[in-house]
Structure formats: C-alpha cells, structure tokens
C-alpha cells in the first residue's frame, strides 16, 4: 500500500481531534445557553414600576435609545456580586439601565436598592415571572442590550464582570448609539 509509511498518523490525528474538542469544552460554560432572542424584537411587557406601582413601563417606552435590561432580585446572591459594577456604570450615564425585579416582593426589592444603591433609571416588578419567561430568563442575574429599534443585541447570562462590560457590552452600546 502506498500510504503505509503514513499509517501511524491515523491514530495520532484521531487523538488530536478528540483532544482538541475536549480541550475546547473545558472553557465552555454549559449553563450559558445561547438565546434565540438575540437579533429579535424585545418581547413586550407592561409592568408596574417598583417605586411608582401606579405607573407602568414597557419596552416600547424605550424606543429611540439604546438601553440595558438587567434582571435582578433581592433574593439573588450573585446579583450582589455585579451590583457595584452596575452602580458605577449608572454614574457614567453612558446608557440607561432598566431593572426587572424578577419574582420578588416589592418591599424586599425596594429595601435592597436602598441598601445597595440604585443604578436603575427605573425598575419594574415581574412578580409572577411571566415577563422573565418571555425574555427567556433562566438564571438571574441576566443583562440584555437593546438597540434603538427595540431589538435585543446581546445577552449576558449570570453576573456582569468588568471584563464583559469593558470588552463586549460597552463597545456594543457605543456602536449601537453611533449608528
């Protein structure tokens, strides 16, 4: 056979391919399920505001500006982790952040913001979690970037990190604001 001298390569190549897949798998978080909503119109809701329950907010009210939707709750442990970043981001006034207080008691949510600082332009109450389901929320905290036309452009699952904010979210926000 003419290929005989190269035959030892076959198992080596097979091993390399398998090892490559497994190695890449080490750095992928199985909890991060890509959202089918990225690139689609943000799902509608009309929810009472946390600090003014007689007023309602819907994503349509944010038309014309780039904004972030941050899903949080007073019971959520890793929300504490990302909260200082949100507070710092709000101070820069680069982009308005709307809070979705997910499956929370309104009193608890308000108290939590008083204690930890309130980075949100407004927060709305998703008491029964329906808006969360419509937005495909499955692990609080989550953060969505929505463009001027109301299209979801990015979804961060789990707490924001400085790296995610600086390398992905803020550049995206700037790009969307410029367009």
């Amino acid at each position: 056979m003419t290929l005989k001298p190269l035959r030892w390569l076959i198992p080596v190549v097979v091993f390399a391919v398998i090892a490559g897949f497994l190695y890449a798998g080490l750095f992928r978080d199985p909890r991060e399920v890509p959202s089918p909503l990225v690139g689609k119109q943000a799902p509608a809701f009309s929810l009472a505001e946390l600090h003014a329950p007689d007023r309602h907010l819907s994503p349509a009210d944010m038309r014309g500006q780039v904004w972030l939707l941050n899903v949080w709750a007073s019971w959520c442990v890793s929300c504490r982790e990302e909260h200082p970043l949100l507070v710092a981001l709000a101070k820069t006034e680069l982009v308005p952040i709307i809070g979705l207080d997910y499956k929370d008691k309104p009193g608890d949510g308000r108290a939590w913001l008083t204690d930890n600082g309130n980075p949100y332009a407004k927060s709305v109450m998703d008491t029964d979690g329906r808006a969360g389901i419509d937005w495909g929320v499955y692990g609080v905290p989550e953060t969505f970037v929505v463009d001027r036309a109301g299209v979801i452009r990015y979804k961060q699952i789990g707490p924001l990190t400085e790296q995610a904010l600086k390398q992905t979210i803020l550049p995206l926000v700037r790009r969307l604001q410029a367009s």
């Binding site: 399920v33 890509p34 959202s35 089918p36 499956k103 979690g129 389901i133």
Partner: protein, 164 residues
C-alpha cells in the same frame, strides 16, 4: 371539627370534583408526557416534569395554561423554543446545524466498516513470503498422511512404552 363532619365535608368535596377528575387525568397525562421531553434550564439534566426548580414550576404552570387554552403540543414546544432555544428539547430537531449530531454516529460506523473491509481485503492479498510453498507442502503432507495409515499405526506403537 368532629370526625363525622370532616368525613361529610370530604364526601362533598369528592362529589363536586368527581365529574372533572377524568378530564384532569387525561390532561395531567398529556402534560406529563409533554414535560418529560422538555429540559429544565436551571438543572440541565432534569426534565421539566421532574425538576423542583422554581423556574420549572413556573414553566409547568405556563405549559398547563397553554394546554387549557387549547394549544397543541407542538405549539407549546414552539412557545418554549422561541424563548429558550432548541436546548429545551430533549429531542434535538433535524436541521443543518444538527446534521453532525444526528448522522455523525452513522458516518463513524460507516468509516469503521469501510476500514474493517479494507484491512480484511489487504490481509488476504498481501501474504507473507513463502506462504504458497508452505501451503502446498502442508497439503502434500496431509494427503500423504491420509493414504498411509500404517505410518500412523507405527506412531502409536512407538508411543506405547511411554504410556505403560
């Protein structure tokens, strides 16, 4: 409340609920079947039917309401896929991105079978040097053995002293 009163109350409740019980059973069965094919996003190796996660309970509520509103199983699945992606389905749909997943194992099987056949054919074709002469010699000896029973007999005789 006395025991008799309690029993009476239980009987009343049972009578009131009895006519709807049958329809509920059918719905429960249908929902359980549907939910066992859906993944819970929070504890990813559990189905929606068996998960205790908060979100799973909410999604079961949502699924039940959709079913009660007359939506078909496919419509309900579509509702969840639109929000959470194909990942919620335990049975991934057949489409170009999942071709590798569906056909990959069969492709590997075909490659293995082809390799097996090729190696077998190779082995038959490439025989060690002198194999033909060896075989011819072996055949000759066998034939010779078959036509010379005396030789075999003498062999037995030669072994006898050892047996004794």
């Amino acid at each position: 409340m006395s025991v008799t009163r309690r029993l009476l109350l239980a009987a009343c409740v049972a009578i009131v609920l009895a006519p709807t019980a049958h329809a509920d059973d059918a719905l429960d069965l249908r929902l359980r079947h549907l939910e066992s094919g859906l993944r819970c996003l929070v504890c990813q190796n559990q189905t929606l039917a068996e998960s205790d996660a908060d979100l799973a309970a909410d999604l079961r509520r949502e699924v039940r309401e959709l079913a009660l509103a007359g939506r078909s199983d496919d419509e309900i699945r579509h509702y969840l896929v639109a929000r959470y992606g194909d990942f919620v389905l335990y049975d991934p749909p057949l489409k170009p991105v999942t071709w590798l997943l569906w056909f990959g194992p069969f492709a590997l099987l075909a490659v293995g079978a082809a390799a097996w056949v090729a190696v077998g054919r190779n082995r038959r074709r490439s025989r060690p040097d002198g194999a033909a002469e060896f075989e011819a010699e072996a055949r000759r000896l066998l034939r010779a053995g078959a036509t010379a029973p005396a030789e075999a007999g003498s062999g037995d005789a030669a072994r006898k002293p050892l047996d004794a």
